[in-house]
């Protein structure tokens, strides 16, 4: 298969890296070549975080080029909008509608864009918004937004559910595996 390109965007601390780790691991289990890119250090301190996963028969660059993303997984609306230009024409967006303010918003210097959902709709054709934070809170673990989103995007991934499930088992710490699997199933069941 040609490379399938995924962007995962969010805010430092939201668990973006775990989602990309699970997808990469699942692709490996399915026998594909896979590359994953992420950034550590200063960028992680509450800043904008982007992780990229590419898998297929053979993958060279770990970086998704503009206009080539098949799927954009957004953990937060503003961060989703920031990477829309990476989508290919019929690329899919699945994103969490719960906003997180920036430091500029917190100190009263800037306003969070009220029309962010319209902006996203305007710049992409296949958009699936839902409140993933709320699903995570309902499941009983506010930090499991990443697994909720993982479940929600499953139908758009050219990966078998069995390998994704195995990847979750391999990637999530044992003592929180149950609650995370619940979050995954809740995301999968969500009608988006």
């Amino acid at each position: 298969m040609n490379a399938f390109n995924i962007l995962i965007a969010g805010v430092g601390g939201q668990g973006v890296l775990l989602t990309s780790k699970i997808i990469a691991e699942a692709a490996l289990l399915q026998g594909l070549d896979v590359k994953q890119s992420e950034v550590h250090g200063m960028a992680q301190r509450g800043g904008s975080v982007l992780s990229q996963v590419r898998f297929g028969d053979q993958v060279f660059s770990p970086i998704v080029a503009e206009g080539e993303a098949d799927l954009l997984i957004g953990f937060e609306p503003l961060e989703t909008a920031r990477y829309l230009h990476f989508l290919r024409e019929d690329g899919i967006v699945v994103y969490n509608t719960r906003p997180i303010g920036t430091i500029g918003v917190s100190i009263g210097k800037e306003a969070y864009p009220q029309d962010i959902h319209d902006t996203i709709k305007k710049h992409a054709s296949k958009v699936h918004p839902f409140d993933a934070t709320n699903v995570a809170v309902e499941v009983g673990e506010k930090r499991a937004v990443n697994l909720v989103l993982m479940g929600a995007v499953l139908r758009f991934l050219p990966l078998k559910e069995s390998v994704v499930d195995e990847a979750i088992t391999n990637s999530v710490p044992k003592k929180v595996l149950d609650i995370n699997r619940k979050a995954f199933l809740a995301g999968k069941a969500k009608n988006i």
């Binding site: 990469a24 301190r45 800043g47 904008s48 503003l78 829309l84 303010g101 430091i103 917190s106």
Partner: protein, 583 residues
């Protein structure tokens, strides 16, 4: 053999074990940190967080002398700190294999410059290896040790952020059976008195000539035949971008970028109509080629020396036409990094900003104090520069007769131990007049929370003697040393004012653990709507858990309970006691 997805750094750690490596020493630095983090969990080897990169390399040199394969790991700017031993161990050579792993940061995701480590290889006249993915990173560690031992030279293994932090498929191998060597006793070889060093310099030049010969047939450098007029010479991640952009083009992959295989390069250049040399940062290989008289059609004029390259920039530069693509959505507000909710640096910067102090800064999370709302840093150069810089500022101002502007040095605990101590010794010894604030959060924060001599634990988590920073400062001769609570704004302001008024060097050590490293989670605050007058005083804390909700002519503050960590700094700024916590 098993397959796994590993980052370049995890793969290097794996490669170290496969190569029979025994001693690894490092100072944390993005993007190099994870190599030692992985090794610190292994049994049967010695993996340590060293005080700084110079120490790390010297430890590795020592253990190489003792007869075991050794590696020092650091980020690119760490090589500056380790440059002193590096330049001379290049003369002595090694006993057991010695590798310096250095991670460059094109694009400066978490660095203060984007210097190119390959220049050090050329300056020291030692080999430089550059893997193109994680599996090669793993394999190159063993190859680097073998090269080190067969040519009696330290070897630089250079990565960049995308090699160190990108994950790709790795096929692991069984560890090699490596025989330890005897402790080296060879005075003319290892004691660099001038008389000995003169002879060793000749050896260095002879070794380099042999390495040039070796490079011609080394497996690191591989020609991939292809079609098309343009042939590419590429290294590291740029090789992947070239393959992505021009999958059918002929490519000479340079796994060894110093010394380069001159005959092989000439042959490749002659076999293509046009030659492109694609490398991130400096035109290092390109300049070597030009010095040989080889014509480079696409070099640094086509591929910029600043920031990262992409497959698109390469495609566009070589094809001469722009690739059509959408523009980013315009007008979006930015999301810069910021102090975590609950971070112990917040209270100090709130007071430093209030008192409008002149701050000589340093490298760590607290460098973020340069950003709004604090905007309280006026210089930041390198690890440890805050204290020596503040001393220089105070001497310069004194000579100009400027009074009442006592500079403040701001430095973290790990950075203070790394190279702030020497600055403080200098300041005390030479009659300095500055306030030194050591923000002690009991960890190396920015790189993800590593141990150091002040935490009381080694890299593997074992108990270790806990260095007392206050006692150390007193031993240096600082007369005014006080410990303060980083969350108590009133006390912070009062003590800071007292120490600014007193002549001479004063040291304040603020103590509160890093909330990330120690997973501190206190009850969140909430705003009492009835009494909040919407004065926005709390917003000066610069915390993402806070926001302002406009309502008619005024409005009120709000706390995001999911984000708040209960440090209470905002509640101390509140003018109407409307920030409360349910305890």
């Amino acid at each position: 053999m098993t397959k796994a997805i590993l980052s370049g750094n995890e793969a290097i750690a794996r490669g170290f074990l496969e190569a029979g490596g025994k001693v690894a020493a490092a100072y944390p630095g993005t993007p190099s940190t994870e190599v030692l983090e992985v090794l610190s969990r292994e049994k049967g080897i010695h993996a340590e967080w060293s005080t700084n990169e110079k120490v790390a390399l010297e430890v590795a040199i020592g253990s190489s002398l003792a007869g075991v394969r050794s590696m020092a790991c650091m980020k690119h700017v760490g090589v500056n700190v380790a440059a002193d031993p590096l330049m001379t161990v290049a003369y002595t050579g090694v006993n057991a294999g010695l590798v310096l792993m250095a991670a460059d940061d094109p694009g400066m995701f978490s660095s203060q410059n984007e210097q190119d480590t390959r220049h050090y290889a050329r300056m020291a006249k030692i080999p430089c290896l550059e893997p193109v993915d994680s599996d090669e990173a793993r394999a190159y560690v063993r190859a680097a040790f073998e090269l080190s031992e067969s040519f009696d030279t330290p070897v630089i293994l250079r990565t960049t952020t995308r090699i160190s932090h990108c994950k790709s498929v790795v096929r692991t191998a069984e560890p090699a059976a490596v025989k330890d060597r005897d402790l080296a006793r060879d005075v003319p070889k290892y004691v660099m008195l001038p008389a000995n060093a003169k002879k060793r310099h000749l050896v260095v030049e002879e070794r380099l000539a042999k390495l040039r010969e070796y490079a011609e047939t080394a497996a690191f450098n591989e020609v991939r035949p292809g079609k098309g007029d343009v042939g590419f010479i590429a290294n590291g991640i740029a090789y992947q971008y070239v393959r992505e952009a021009f999958p059918d083009a002929p490519v000479l992959k340079l796994g060894m970028t110093y010394p380069i295989p001159e005959k092989k390069v000439r042959g490749f250049a002659a076999s293509v109509k046009k030659l492109a040399v694609v490398e991130e940062l400096d035109g290092f290989v390109e300049e070597l080629l030009k010095a040989m008289g080889v014509t480079v059609h696409f070099g640094k004029t086509a591929f910029p020396p600043c920031g990262e390259l992409t497959s698109r920039t390469i495609r566009e530069a070589v094809s001469g036409s722009a690739v059509a693509c959408k523009l980013p959505v315009g007008g979006l507000i930015v999301r810069p990094p910021t102090f975590c909710p609950g971070c112990s640096h917040r209270g100090l910067y709130t007071i430093i900003a209030k008192l409008k102090l002149y701050v000589s800064g340093d490298i760590g999370c607290y460098t973020l104090g340069a950003l709004p709302p604090f905007s309280s840093m006026h210089t930041c150069i390198c690890m440890g520069a805050s204290i020596s810089g503040a001393h220089g500022i105070s001497r310069g101002l004194a000579l100009r007769g400027v009074l009442g502007q006592k500079p403040v040095a701001v430095i973290g605990d790990s950075t203070f131990l790394h190279s702030g101590i020497t600055g403080l010794i200098d300041m005390v010894y030479n009659g300095g007049d500055a306030l030194v604030v050591i923000m002690n959060n009991d960890t190396t924060g920015m790189t993800g929370g590593q141990e150091h001599a002040g935490t009381g634990r080694t890299a593997s988590g074992a108990a270790a003697p806990k260095l007392d920073i206050g006692q150390l400062c007193q031993a240096i001769g600082a007369k005014r040393v006080r410990e303060i609570d980083a969350y108590n704004l009133k006390e912070l302001e009062q003590i800071m004012k007292e120490e600014l008024a007193a002549p001479g060097t004063a040291v304040l050590i603020s103590n509160q653990p890093c909330v990330l490293r120690y997973r501190v989670s206190k009850k969140p605050y909430r705003v009492v709507r009835e009494t909040c007058v919407g004065c926005k005083a709390c917003l000066k804390a610069g915390c993402i858990a806070l926001s302002f909700v406009p309502e008619g002519k005024k409005g009120h503050a709000e706390v995001d309970a999911l984000l708040c960590n209960g440090c209470g700094v905002c509640s101390q700024l509140c003018t109407t006691n409307s920030m409360v916590t349910d305890t």
